[in-house]
């Protein structure tokens, strides 16, 4: 019996940050290190003092694994490794390693430069943190140390997102991070093999959601863009280079072609370069379709979409512009926003979540008067729309993943307890596994039954399978043998073999029973009577009358003596070894019945 205990200093009924500590067969692994997007103070970081009061984290943790580059999964990493202190290995996929530092730096800039916070990690800390990162490939088994190994699986969701299997001996845990079971235009669906982990840790934020179909969202997006452009307005779509920009471009291009629209669509060059660069690097992480088109041409070569120039923003007439960064916190997208915000014919469509403190976040919360640099007030009259295409697993997806992996236990993180009772029952009923839903900071202990592999000697196997009913694939067969545990190996051998190997002698057990017989004649006559009786009854056995006056039945010995006090009674001593127990008992009960009267 072993423990796999899960403790969630971040996620676990708390939407906002993920950070899970798993203890498996003595190894301690931290899964994700996210920050809470809603808080401005220390509450945004997980409380690491829970892990170990004294003693260094580097000694306590065997490794840290980061599932993907979203800030609620990696945002606290530099704080954790550089400010709290951790020097051990940090594992993540290659795309995550490439993209994490960019997002962390962006986030740092917003928090420190824009909001003037002081207790925050520095750019150098981000760099030092990334030096501790070991990048892994999909389906590559990575030995963290002699006993602990990890393997990454494709998770969909965003570029580079992975689900991780953590294995120590024959015990394993699979952590999903954020994943998605339906493929979209630029990413495939999550996939895992039937690895049968002892525990599957899955996010369940969207477990209670039944999502509107993608086609409807896209239809509404196109409708909005079309309406704005028709009335002569301008549409700004701030994007992160690797988010949905590619998908939205394809969508607009097809729509423009079909509707024969003339308004120009632009994307900023910074966007093209970055996107092309990353897609080239990580082409295997995108889905089939993208790979095919990429091989043929430049990702961003469209008929209707052209490169943007700063000056175009002042052009009259309708247009659509994709610009970075995605949260309107700096750079080109913010510049364009400032130019277009005052006109109610224009529209800005935010395609994703915005961190607190950014202009994007403010306008999505409904703010329409923004304070810019130099105390200038910007009045926002343009339409603000929000559209989320982010891909998470819903209840159906979670069930699919459990069906694929076949875990023995399931643990749900990332949702509210009340709302997960139904899903918990659903999982327990359908898969007959236990389902846990820990609260933030709660420790869950899961008992596992480790499988211990044992070698069986061929001779024993042959012998045992020959006994009893024929082997049946559906029924377990009971076999008897002796378990030898020697030099870290387990072997099942026959008892004789075991005795030989261990240099032990087999003990001999002998039983002796006294049977009283009424017979006044001499002993040797009684013996003769017994001999003839047994010879007649036990025709299949070897019954012998030995010269010394004893009788043997197989290896059982029978001797007769007179009773010490009563001459009329003879005492038969029946003696047998443990191996002949059955025959010995039978013989005894036979003799106890008495001898037949007629005797020679």
């Amino acid at each position: 019996v072993s423990l796999v205990s899960c403790w969630c200093p971040g996620a676990g009924q708390d939407v906002g940050r993920s950070c899970i500590l798993v203890s498996i067969a003595g190894k301690n692994v931290m899964l994700d290190c996210g920050m809470h997007m809603g808080y401005n103070d220390d509450r945004r970081f997980p409380d690491f003092s829970y892990i170990t009061q004294n003693g260094r984290l580097t000694d306590f943790l065997d490794c840290v694994i980061i599932s993907h580059f979203h800030l609620d999964h990696c945002g606290a990493l530099p704080y954790f490794s550089e400010m709290v202190g951790y020097d051990g290995p940090i594992y993540m996929t290659h795309p995550t390693k490439a993209i994490c530092p960019i997002l962390l730096e962006d986030y740092r800039k917003i928090t420190v430069d824009k909001k003037g916070e002081t207790n925050f990690f520095t750019s150098q800390m981000i760099k030092d943190c990334m030096k501790k990162v070991v990048a892994v490939h999909l389906h590559q088994t990575v030995q963290v140390d002699e006993e602990l190994e990890i393997k990454a699986y494709y998770a969909g969701h965003v570029l580079g997102a992975a689900m991780f299997q953590i294995k120590v001996g024959c015990e394993s845990v699979v952590y999903t991070g954020d994943y998605n079971m339906t493929p979209d235009r630029h990413l495939g669906a999550a996939w895992i093999d039937k690895c049968r982990p002892d525990l599957l840790i899955s996010e369940s934020t969207y477990a209670t959601t039944i999502r509107d179909s993608k086609r409807c969202r896209e239809r509404d997006f196109l409708k909005k863009v079309h309406e704005t452009v028709e009335r002569g307005g301008k549409v700004l779509i701030p994007v992160f280079a690797l988010g949905r920009a590619q998908e939205l471009c394809i969508l607009l291009e097809t729509f423009w072609e079909r509707m024969n629209l003339k308004a120009p669509i632009y994307f900023s060059t910074g966007l093209t370069e970055k996107a092309n660069h990353y897609y080239k690097l990580f082409i295997t992480w995108t889905n089939q379709k993208i790979r095919k088109t990429f091989v043929q041409r430049n990702m961003f070569e469209f008929k209707h979409i052209k490169a943007f120039d700063r000056a175009f923003a002042d052009n009259p007439g309708p247009m659509v512009v994709f610009a970075t960064p995605g949260m309107l916190h700096a750079g080109q997208s913010l510049q364009i926003f400032r130019k277009w915000a005052g006109n109610e014919k224009n529209m800005v469509i935010m395609p994703g979540y915005c961190v607190q403190g950014t202009v994007g976040h403010k306008i999505l919360s409904g703010q329409r008067k923004l304070e810019m640099e130099g105390r200038q007030i910007l009045e926002v009259k343009m339409q603000v729309e929000y559209m989320s295409f982010s891909a998470h697993a819903d209840a159906k997806g979670i069930m699919q993943l459990i069906r694929q992996a076949e875990p023995r236990n399931v643990l749900l993180v990332h949702g509210e307890a009340k709302k997960m009772e139904f899903l918990k029952q659903k999982i327990e009923q359908e898969f007959h596994v236990s389902c846990y839903m820990p609260a933030n900071g709660e420790t869950t202990t899961i008992l596992t039954n480790p499988c211990i592999p044992v070698d069986i000697s061929l001779g024993l196997l042959k012998r045992e399978t020959a006994i009893g009913p024929l082997p049946d694939a559906k029924k377990p067969k009971l076999m008897h043998g002796t378990l030898l545990m020697k030099d870290n190996s387990f072997r099942l051998v026959s008892p004789e073999q075991a005795l030989k190997e261990l240099g032990l002698a087999e003990h001999q057990l002998r039983f002796t029973c006294r049977v009283h017989i009424q017979d006044p004649r001499k002993e040797h006559e009684t013996v003769l009577r017994v001999y003839n009786h047994l010879k007649g009854v036990l025709k299949d056995y070897s019954v012998q009358h030995l010269p010394d006056g004893s009788i043997t039945v197989e290896s059982i010995l029978i001797q007769a003596t007179a009773h010490s006090e009563d001459q009329g009674t003879k005492v038969l001593l029946v003696s047998w070894t443990y191996q002949d127990e059955e025959l010995g008992s039978y013989l005894t009960s036979l003799l106890k019945k008495g001898l037949p009267q007629s005797t020679p």
Partner: protein, 362 residues
């Protein structure tokens, strides 16, 4: 369309029921164990009267759910209580459930209302009312119609009937009047104030020829005359007749819907009146479409009528294209938004749609 949202349920449903607080309930009808009853919170766009378009929250959320061992063919909330009642094969008994969304998200099975000689009977049609006490009206045949008090499971009324035809629907017209519709199309009325007199057959469908019928009634306002709204009947051949219960000797109007023939059977026939559009009704159950008709232009000739809108979304559903095309199992009108309907099909799809009236009428 003005608006169209398509969703996919994990298992298809053949019922869509509205509950307090704009909640919607669906349930599985599969033969195996583990059918789910789901109470859903619709996205904010559907809860308000105005359409919002691009909105962060566009999804249905499962508020609570329960597990049913038998397929759920019919479900009705019991007004003014936290209970709901379901029915389904293999017999005509009812299951009572408790919904307590604040405490937990599990819909718990509370009790069973058994029926005498209920085994082997077709599943019970149900309706609920809480005028004098929480009551459920149920029955699978004309001679097994009864009213049971939900909490105590006591019988309060048993209808007297000469016939034993199978029922396709029943309803409380008000707290004293019951309307029963047989699968043969016959409509019967019963008055609770006269429990000894048998149910009165009031209308036989025109030219019955072995087809199956179902009915649709409006949810009249509490105080209004129960029979002021016409009752619509739909047959498996697409015939529609409207009957005024005050004058049942002849039908008010009738028409023929353009539906594929032979029909796919009467399993999912559904006809319903629009709560906020005068004279409009919708039908479904023949294929993957939902038809909306304006009955104000109908007469009694029974000729073919032109629908004012046809929702075809479900027919384009199945991505695999394998097996049979999806069949719309049920539809219902939004209670406040006049031109919004919800429809579900046998492939698990759930659509919410709002159409644009091409020419000014409705």
């Amino acid at each position: 369309y003005r608006d169209l949202h398509t969703f996919e349920l994990q298992a298809p449903t053949r019922l869509i029921e509205w509950a307090r607080g704009s909640r919607v309930c669906v349930a599985g009808y599969g033969q195996s164990d583990g059918n789910e009853i789901l109470q859903l919170i619709p996205p904010p766009t559907l809860q308000t009267k105005e359409t919002q378009g691009l909105c962060p929250e566009r999804d249905f959320k499962v508020e609570c759910g329960g597990f049913s061992k038998r397929p759920v063919y019919s479900l009705k909330y019991v007004p003014d209580t936290s209970l709901l009642v379901t029915s389904g094969p293999p017999d005509s008994s009812l299951q009572v459930w408790q919904v307590s969304a604040e405490d937990s998200d599990v819909i718990k099975s509370v009790s069973t209302i058994a029926t005498e000689n209920g085994t082997g009977q077709p599943w019970a049609k149900i309706d609920t009312i809480s005028a004098r006490a929480p009551w459920v009206l149920h029955g699978s045949r004309l001679d097994s119609v009864q009213i049971t008090e939900v909490e105590s499971r006591k019988n309060v009324y048993t209808a007297v009937s000469r016939g034993s035809e199978e029922l396709s629907g029943l309803a409380f017209l008000d707290c004293n009047t019951l309307l029963l519709c047989c699968a043969t199309g016959q409509l019967c009325l019963a008055d609770l104030r006269q429990p000894q007199s048998p149910v009165e057959a009031v209308s036989v469908p025109p030219a019955p020829c072995g087809e199956q019928w179902c009915m649709g009634t409006t949810h009249g306002a509490q105080g209004s005359e129960p029979s002021s709204q016409p009752v619509a009947r739909l047959s498996s051949r697409g015939l529609l007749t409207l009957t005024d219960l005050r004058k049942t000797s002849e039908s008010l109007a009738s028409a023929k819907a353009r539906v594929p023939s032979p029909g796919s059977g009467a399993e999912f026939l559904c006809v319903s009146w629009a709560p906020a559009l005068e004279g409009c009704l919708a039908i479904s159950g023949f294929d993957g479409t939902v038809h909306v008709y304006d009955t104000q232009s109908w007469d009694s000739s029974g000729r073919e009528a032109e629908p004012i809108f046809v929702h075809k979304g479900h027919a384009f559903g199945g991505a695999d294209g394998s097996g049979d095309p999806p069949l719309v199992t049920v539809h219902t009108w939004h209670l406040q938004k006049p031109r919004t309907l919800l429809s579900a099909a046998s492939d698990g799809s759930l659509h919410v749609w709002d159409w644009v009236q091409p020419c000014g009428k409705c």
